[in-house]
Symmetry: C2
DNA sequence: GTGAAAGCGCTAACAA
DNA sequence: TTGTTAGCGCTTTCAC
């Protein structure tokens, strides 16, 4: 391949200097229309392609933003990635992805990697392992770069946040079951001490209390957020003397496991009600269709991107704490809870 | 924040030169153990973080690879992203993501963006819109950068390929149905002229011919690869005088739509057999569980990464055309086709 | 084993 | 409106 053409090549051809070329290419005001056109034409002719790495070195901006999250395998995060990349791209930003795979150590490596790549900011969601130690996130701010935390947030982390109202999510799911006439409502969720799951659980309890029902401790199952988790948990619940008449799954996969276990006992929702969280794209189409709480992944990605752009813009103004962006969860009632009450 | 520390700061503190510091940091042979340690220690003390942008400018390597694909919303691609990023990371590469959203124009922009970012290579899967015009991919090679195409490949594109044997995939699905005693096998797929879908269809026809069955043209439905597509297609099939006794869905979502339409007619597989492609993670858990052909997304991502690393290594050796990597599809027989034959 | 110095491709003062 | 000239932070010859 021929050597790559640079702005020097363009300058030489046109008998002007590189600064003029640079100005023309970046469409900077103080340039005559004629030279601008000449430069652009020559650039095309010489097959010029700007080297962003070089321009980053001088300008200090890479127009790359780092996205750090547990795993693209989890559909919620895949949707956020989709939305983030799509939106940021339209503002000239590229997306550098780093998955933590739920490991704290990997999360730390990720922050280092992204920072070394000189990203203009980081949008992150915490790993399940992340508890006390959040020093790696502090470093992002120490370097003066915007840090946005979404969905899996953290109490001690002073950074702008985008999430849904998780307590309301738990409340909505429970209230819906209550409205449908269910009374003995169980809840299968994760054993990890992640804030959003605690909050949903609190919403669950709140709804029960409002209905004058005191939460039954044996109805709370802590396990894994997987089909297996839902399956095992349900089997445990079915062994109770006082069986629940409805089960909330920590996410839609858990709900799938619940339905599976029920099916083996020849029980089909909504005779026992089942509801999940996340609105995975299969939920609407399985039989019976699964009631769920939509977590607004697409919207969340977009809000993260908007927030980032906003922070970047006012960078040199006041660095005051941003208001958290709290999205509202959406109840999607479907067959799996549609009991005639 | 304080100004970022550079190798100059380290050099000054230690009364040595930046070249020595650079050598120490990069662990280059010709350096004494003692200075190496001193540098590393000082680096830590000063909170030094290497600037990869700067090193990229001189070395010409960014250790970033560009991943260009239709959408992270499509679970197959999300899995490939997951796998790619995970594997590449372990070899020191970061992943820059660009989604085409099935648009040719966006695909072209994507190539430009990635090239401007000076990625060390591009791993791509074509958009549905991409047909004749593949000039943008040629540019990658013109710049002397490795280009790998996976899954959605293209006949006229001379680049190393990673895919599954799609004809075999179609064949396997059809053969499985035949083995289960189904004879009137319909096929709902996409109307887009994408190679892999054509090949699967050819596998379908091959299996039928081998069984002495001549494909019935009214059993081939061309529509969209969505739940809707499966639903609509199935309703059309059910209106035929001579109804099929089994339906192949172009992917698992299509299969979901097929099952939905059947359910509305009070038909439950396997009384009419249903099989999909992709092994989406819900397929195993819906009721009835869905037979499908696994497309090895995880393996595919890993093979792409391996191929990339291999090419990068031998870069300056012979640039001979690489053998395509063809993975074998895996039949996963489940309840939706489990008819007693 | 270490230092000196050029330069990667571009931007951005400062001059003119 | 355009040119001159330093760098940005690092790597890499070529000396010593």
């Amino acid at each position: 391949m021929a050597k790559k053409t640079t702005i020097y090549d363009i300058a030489k051809e046109l008998n002007i200097t590189v600064s003029t070329v640079s100005r023309a290419l970046n469409n900077i005001s103080t340039i005559s229309e004629s030279t601008r056109e000449a430069v652009l034409e020559m650039a095309k002719k010489l097959n010029y392609r700007p080297n962003k790495v070089a321009s980053s070195l001088t300008s200090g901006k890479t127009y790359i933003i780092g996205v750090l999250l547990p795993s693209a395998q989890i559909q919620f995060f895949a949707s956020v990635i989709h939305s983030l990349e799509k939106y940021l791209k339209s503002f000239g930003y590229s997306t550098l992805l780093y998955q933590t795979n739920e490991s704290l150590e990997s999360e730390k490596d990720g922050i280092s990697t992204l920072l070394e790549a000189q990203v203009d900011g980081i949008i992150a969601s915490l790993s399940l392992e992340t508890e006390e130690d959040i020093s790696h996130f502090e470093k992002v701010k120490e370097e003066g770069k915007p840090l946005i935390i979404f969905d899996r947030t953290h109490d001690n982390l002073d950074a702008p946040v985008v999430k849904i109202n998780d307590e309301q999510a738990g409340y909505l799911a429970t209230k819906h079951l209550l409205d449908k006439g269910y009374r003995k409502i169980a809840y299968i969720t994760t054993k990890h001490r992640i804030k959003i799951f605690r909050e949903r659980y609190e919403g669950y309890q709140k709804a029960l209390r409002e209905a004058g029902i005191s939460p039954n401790p044996s109805y709370a199952i802590l396990g894994e957020l997987t089909v297996e988790g839902g399956y095992t948990g349900t089997n445990n619940l079915l062994r109770l003397k006082d069986r629940p008449d409805a089960i909330i799954g920590g996410d839609d996969y858990v709900a799938l496991g619940i339905i599976k276990a029920l099916h083996e006992q020849h029980i089909t929702p909504p005779s026992i009600g089942v509801i999940g969280f996340a609105n995975q794209n299969f939920s609407e189409h399985i039989i019976p269709s699964l009631s769920t709480i939509d977590q607004q992944a697409i919207q969340m990605g977009k809000e993260c991107a908007k927030l980032f752009l906003k922070i970047i813009e006012r960078k040199h103004l006041e660095e005051k704490t941003m208001e958290p962006v709290i999205l509202s969860p959406i109840l999607l009632p479907r067959e799996s809870t549609n009991r005639k009450s």
